[in-house]
């Protein structure tokens, strides 16, 4: 038994690491700049011209706090041309653009020069003093803004045709407007550097793979185990902050998980209570009318999508046109629900019961059909075994044979399903909670997907993965305890 446990544990840990890696890759792939989203959530974002140096400073601190200036992983595989300091650049779009440029020309030094030339041009353009008569001012500001916009877009594009167009546009602006004369030198330097990108190109360098080692101070490591400072890492429950309202993810999940967990437990219990007798009875009465009819009904139920059942229930029993026995959505009526009630309070339960009946029916029926089928097949398998025949030959009553000898062994496969409760309480009920507007984890996931709240999505993904692996481990070990043949394999 000990050996089996150790064996399972040894395969368990790499799987956890693999799940964390997948989750991390997804969070890296998320198409948004986390700093922009987070500062928007915190309300520090002003309109474009209000962006003062103060808000920039906040963003920089945020970037530092998120560890975005660190390398992504312990090692990186890239090519000889790429730079090992690129990860220090703050802006996400400029970073990807520089990567693409380096890939095109193969000469990091030239790309770096070009980038710095552009930055210098941008800086000088921003500090340009405009003193002019009143009537020209509007036009001049417009031209100036357009020039700034062209620089900004040059910083984020790597397509040759677009760069050429932008450069000619800027050149025309420079020629037409005298007040931009101060920038002539900087602009010429940019064009010069841009030409060098193709003349000094060393594309062969991109064909030589290199491996760089960055050490422990990288984004993945900090994300997973924290940096011993302000980040505590995923393994200590720090999933970061939500893009929507800036709240810590862990607290948000903790607030929402109770109702989903309660729903999952109640409905799985009901499913067990209903499906085990049905499974036993149809296995016992195999090939009779009852068994065949029940099999067909279960089969049809099994093919019925849960969202269809949920909507049909709403249509039938929570609809003023037909029967409005139950409320349509939510889990409580804010006008009559007393917030001082704790959730196990009798009045609270009584208040909430009508809200929960339809969701529980929807939740239950899917696992009900599944469990009954498993139960029936397992039972048929057991009933034909020798020891059942022996029990009958001993003269035991039919009830005793079925309920005492056969049932215990046929329950084994069904017990393992219980391990799925925890992960399914987090992620298994998205559709049902959306239909009935139950403010649990499922609805939270749905909202976070609609609002592109990536930290939440990644946190749920990681948690569900971890919990399922733990569930597998526990159920395997339980199974080995109950059925000793497994650990002696």
């Amino acid at each position: 038994m000990l050996k089996y446990t150790i064996e399972r544990l040894i395969t368990f840990i790499p799987m956890l690491i693999a799940i964390s890696l997948i989750a991390f890759i997804i969070s890296i792939m998320a198409p948004a700049d986390p700093v922009e989203r987070l500062s928007k959530a915190a309300g520090t974002e002003g309109s474009a011209d209000e962006q003062s140096s103060a808000s920039k400073k906040i963003k920089q601190e945020l970037r530092k706090k998120l560890g975005l200036d660190l390398p992504i992983f312990y090692v990186s595989i890239s090519n000889l041309a790429s730079s090992d300091t690129l990860h220090k650049i703050q802006d996400k779009y400029q970073k990807t653009n520089l990567k693409a440029l380096t890939h095109q020309s193969g000469n990091w030094q030239a790309v770096s020069n070009y980038y710095h030339a552009l930055l210098k041009l941008e800086k000088n353009q921003k500090s340009l003093q405009i003193n002019s008569s009143q009537e020209d001012l509007i036009k001049i500001t417009e031209v100036n803004n357009q020039f700034g916009f062209e620089i900004g877009s040059l910083l984020e594009t790597s397509k040759k045709e677009i760069i050429d167009i932008k450069l000619t546009k800027m050149e025309n602006l420079l020629n037409d407007n005298t007040f931009l004369n101060e920038l002539d030198q900087d602009f010429d330097y940019v064009v010069d550097c841009y030409k060098k990108l193709s003349t000094q190109s060393t594309r062969w360098k991109t064909f030589i793979p290199t491996i760089a080692w960055y050490g422990l101070n990288n984004q993945y490591h900090v994300w997973l185990v924290g940096n011993g400072n302000d980040r505590r890492g995923v393994i200590r429950g720090d999933f970061g902050e939500s893009y929507i309202d800036g709240q810590p993810i862990a607290r948000k999940i903790w607030n929402k998980i109770g109702i989903s967990f309660a729903l999952a437990v109640i409905s799985i219990l009901i499913a067990y209570i209903v499906s085990i007798p049905i499974g036993i009875y149809s296995a016992y009465k195999k090939d009779t009318f009852f068994d065949k009819g029940m099999s067909l009904i279960l089969f049809i139920l099994y093919s019925m999508p849960s969202f269809f059942i949920g909507l049909l229930l709403l249509l039938g029993f929570a609809n003023p046109d037909n029967l409005s026995w139950f409320p349509v959505s939510g889990i409580q009526d804010p006008s009559s629900f007393d917030p001082n009630w704790s959730w196990w309070h009798w009045d609270a339960l009584k208040h909430r019961a009508p809200y929960l009946i339809l969701p529980i029916i929807t939740y239950t029926y899917g696992s009900f059909a599944f469990l009954s089928r498993i139960m029936r097949i397992g039972m048929i398998d057991i009933v034909s075994q020798d020891y059942i025949r022996t029990a009958r030959a001993k003269g035991l009553g039919e009830n005793k044979v079925i309920l005492k000898h056969a049932l215990r062994n046929s329950l084994l496969p069904i017990i393992t399903v219980f391990a799925a409760i925890f992960p399914s309480s987090i992620g298994g009920s998205v559709i049902i909670e959306v239909i009935f507007s139950i403010p649990g984890m499922g609805l939270e996931i749905y909202n976070s997907v609609l609002n592109y709240d990536y930290p939440m999505i990644v946190a749920v993904f990681t948690l569900v993965g971890f919990l399922t692996m733990v569930g597998y481990l526990v159920s395997d070990l339980l199974y080995a305890v109950v059925d000793p043949r497994i650990s002696y394999k």
Partner: protein, 488 residues
């Protein structure tokens, strides 16, 4: 859609043939049957036996015919539900508006959707210019017209029947003389409309295409991955695949270099390809895979040249462990959560959704293939082919695989049902599938938003339910027919 049409025809003709409905005019049904039975006595064929077993299950047979009907509906959707007439005679000109821009129209050279005709009457005087896709054909004074069975396209909005018009309720219509009247029977929305006046029946007909396509494409991807990985894992196990150490190392190196040159080096080319469209992107991906394979082959060839001394010793490759761990990893995350998470970071596109469903759905197929190979690899005919010195590739694909496809086929059929279910669930939630595509799930979502519109819940829900049931029935019946041991 060409593929769907061809497959549907072939299947249909095959079933008619098998049922004796086709080519039976010469001899009577009975004689034919006798001849058939005689032939069967002489030669036993497994596929014929399985087909006979399958035919005994009446419900499954009905399901198969229903499936074929669905495939036909999907193939001919543009001619079943279209707001343009199939044939129209206007000022003496014969027009075929519904065929423009479709497959048949392409064969007959009828132009594309935006075809524009200048119409002249019989005296040769210019009447007007008709651009097919924006003309309101109902408002023209057509001399002779054949409408499609359902006279609405899935995206065409009927502005006189907005705001959830019930199939039994009052519907309005603007006749060619410009008056708003009670709708003629021909133009009724038979299954009602949604909030912006789109016809539900037409949406259902066109949604059939998407559902069937999702099942076909995603399970195609899943079964290729699942069968190959499962076969390798089951056939080689943990200690049967032996290769010289140097070859093993060079294969790993080849995979690394192949990934580097095929995908790392070409990632901007691939991204460019995908920005030009899904087709050119897939071609770039295929090219990358080609690069990977050729580098792998080159590396393995080089390794043969330096096979000396200790490097020649055999090492075992734990194929089964790799594949089993991969399956366990994919299974450890509930499929819906996995798909929702991935779709949230990639672009919204139906094709990407199909690919993701396929990439996450191969585990079941791989497990079945693996189990079947574990059983088969100790059987005599596999050992005979090994004893004859055939290569592993030949043994796996030519001898073992054809004999282990039965349970795999069943799990593919179940997989199609669950792929359709997942796609419906995703579009029901409005995740992943673009909002402008009308699918059964998105129609059901409209019903969720307005619970009074019962027709938007009942009809799409029944469509999903029936399709899934059909696939499950066929899968269950073919399991019973192909492998009686699994019968429960």
């Amino acid at each position: 859609m060409n593929i769907l049409i061809i497959i549907s025809f072939l299947l249909f003709i095959y079933c008619l043939y098998e049922d004796g409905l086709l080519f039976t005019k010469k001899s009577s049904q009975k004689q034919k049957k006798v001849i058939k039975e005689n032939n069967e006595k002489q030669k036993f064929s497994f596929s014929k036996y399985a087909w006979n077993q399958f035919k005994k299950n009446k419900i499954a047979l009905i399901s198969l015919y229903l499936l074929m009907a669905l495939v036909l509906i999907a193939s001919f959707a543009p001619y079943i539900a279209n707001d343009k007439p199939l044939y129209a005679k206007y000022e003496g000109n014969k027009l075929y508006p519904a065929f423009a821009g479709t497959n048949i129209g392409w064969i007959l050279n009828l132009g594309d959707e935006t075809r524009t005709d200048s119409i002249f009457d019989s005296q040769g005087d210019f009447v007007q210019i008709l651009q097919y896709d924006i003309t309101d054909w109902r408002q023209l004074n057509l001399e002779d017209v054949i409408w499609a069975p359902i006279v609405y396209s899935p995206k065409s909005m009927d502005r006189y029947n907005r705001d959830y018009v019930s199939p039994t309720g009052k519907q309005r219509y603007k006749n060619p003389s410009g008056e708003i009247t009670e709708i003629p029977k021909r133009f009724r929305h038979r299954l009602g409309t949604d909030g912006i006046g789109r016809d539900l029946a037409s949406g259902l007909i066109h949604g059939t295409r998407i559902s069937l396509l999702v099942g076909l494409v995603s399970m195609g991807i899943a079964s290729i991955i699942g069968i190959i990985l499962g076969a390798l894992a089951g056939f080689f196990g943990d200690n049967k695949l032996k290769m010289p150490r140097i070859k093993y190392y060079f294969s790993l190196l080849g995979i690394f270099l192949g990934l580097f040159y095929g995908f790392g080096q070409r990632k901007y080319v691939i991204a460019d390809g995908f920005s030009n469209g899904f087709g050119s992107g897939s071609i770039q991906i295929l090219l990358s895979i080609l690069v990977l394979i050729s580098i792998l082959i080159v590396c393995r060839y080089i390794s043969k040249l330096i096979m000396i001394g200790k490097l020649k010793e055999d090492v075992t490759v734990p194929v089964d462990t790799f594949v089993s761990r991969g399956i366990e990893l994919l299974n450890s995350i509930p499929r819906l959560i996995l798909i929702i998470t991935i779709t949230s970071v990639v672009e919204r596109s139906l094709w990407i959704v199909m690919v993701i469903i396929g990439l996450t759905g191969w585990t079941r197929i791989a497990r079945f293939t693996r189990a079947e190979f574990l059983r088969i690899r100790s059987l005599e005919f596999v050992q005979a082919s090994e004893a004859l010195g055939y290569s592993s590739r030949r043994t796996i694909f030519k001898h073992a695989l054809p004999n282990s496809l039965a349970p795999v086929f069943v799990s593919i059929a179940f997989g199609i049902a669950s792929a359709i279910l997942i796609e419906a669930g995703l579009s029901f939630l409005g995740i992943g599938v673009p909002t402008d595509i009308v699918t059964w799930g998105s129609l059901l979502n409209l019903g969720r938003q307005n619970i009074e519109a019962w027709w938007l819940i009942i009809f799409p829900g029944m469509a999903i339910f029936i399709t899934i049931t059909i696939y499950n029935m066929i899968a269950e019946a073919s399991r019973d027919a192909l492998d009686p041991r699994l019968k429960s």
